[in-house]
């Protein structure tokens, strides 16, 4: 019965079926109860969804509020307006010249969330350390995963896979300086078929606060010019 109700509210019934449904609704107690359940559930769930989103926005608000902002009471004295205008111009120029596009970090965020939530694991249940680290990463045990990758690097400092994953894990842990170091190490390895080191460095720079946009742009340009891994995304970012 729920399926029919669902079709009714999704406009998936023919005109005659709709009319039949509406006539039945007047006299059929069971249908009425089910429609009541359906509508009340949707209202209840919407409230929960809104509450959840409200909580997320509140978190965001706290984050925004923590950012340094100009404060102070408004002084209505006219003689100060010239000085205030000058300050606004200077601050505005400084802010405009150093603040990256809001959208830049949207794309970097999106890339990280789309690509660094789960890392590819071999399906053969092999017990090697790298696979163990990746499984821990995918279980969101990031600190434990990092220890595993670091132990591999202690044994074999030039292991490109371990270097890459150590960097990604550091990035996910918001240890940006550490992540950049790993990605620099990765980028310096010249014998790799595909090397995303520079591209990863760039997106890490876009995550840092304050965001180092200029350096990120230089790196993205190098990724494009040298035809490196991440070129397509870099092109989108510099469009």
């Amino acid at each position: 019965m729920l399926e029919k109700i669902d079709k009714y509210f999704n406009n998936e019934l023919s005109l005659s079926e709709r009319q039949g449904f509406e006539i039945q609704l007047v006299k059929d107690k069971e249908l009425k109860e089910n429609v009541s359940f359906y509508l009340n559930t949707r209202t209840a769930a919407k409230q929960l969804a809104d509450d959840k989103r409200r909580g997320e926005f509140e978190e965001l608000r706290k984050k925004i509020s923590l950012k340094p902002q100009e404060s102070g009471k408004i002084k209505p004295m006219i003689w100060l307006s010239g000085l205030a205008a000058s300050i606004v111009l200077v601050v505005g120029f400084w802010w405009f010249s150093r603040t990256p596009d809001l959208a830049t970090d949207v794309l970097a965020d999106t890339y990280i969330q789309e690509n660094f939530q789960n890392l590819p694991v071999k399906m053969d249940a092999s017990a090697d350390s790298l696979q163990m680290g990746l499984r821990l990463f995918n279980e969101q045990k990031l600190s434990e995963a990092q220890i595993v990758f670091e132990n591999i690097l202690k044994r074999k400092y030039s292991d490109s896979e371990a270097t890459k994953y150590a960097g990604i894990t550091a990035l996910r842990l918001k240890n940006y300086n550490e992540a950049i170091q790993y990605f620099k190490l990765l980028a310096s390895q010249k014998d790799l078929f595909a090397n995303p080191g520079k591209f990863y460095q760039a997106i890490t720079l876009l995550q840092q606060s304050p965001i180092n946009k200029k350096e990120a742009e230089v790196l993205l340009k190098e990724v494009i010019d040298d035809d490196l891994e991440g070129k397509e995304e870099a092109l989108k970012m510099l469009k």
């Binding site: 559930t41 209202t43 209840a44 929960l48 969804a49 809104d50 830049t104 949207v106 989108k236």
Partner: protein, 195 residues
Amino acid sequence: MNFFSRGTLSDETILSGIVSDGILQRNTENKLYEQYFYFIKDATFKHKILDDEAASLYTDSVLAFIENVRSNRFQGNSAVKTYLYQIFSNKCVDFIRKTATNKMSVHETESMDDSVFMMPDDTKNILQKLISENEVTILNVKVKQLGEKCQQMVLAWSEGFTDNQIAQELGYQSANVAKNSRLRCLDKLRELYKS
């Protein structure tokens, strides 16, 4: 979608981002929230309300805006900023008026399910009577007792996501599979509700 044209998201990017899926949708909504965050400060000066009150009204305004975009009630006849500001301003005025007459929780009113509005008058009257605040409160608790996946699915459905979008977001093979799972979740919920 050109993210890099300006320092703020364009109206077009905001609108297409809100109706997209998953992470991009969430990020766009967060950026929208951030982009017009200064409305809060404006309202504390203009309407003489507390920062927390203005923030709460702003959050409700953003949620209302998102809902209007998803349900196609926002036709794009005005700029996003103008439209959002209008919603926010109305909520502030409403809040002040209700506070002055000691009638709080202005922005917590029950919203009628959108689909009910579109029904013929006779049916609409019947359906309106079927929506009960008490039942909603009980179901609110029961939804939380569902498994995580079912909960995600029911919440996404309530927010107006299509089965196709739900399938993509939650990793189902097709819209049809997502729909069947969703209806099974509703069946489970009904059992919980009756128990």
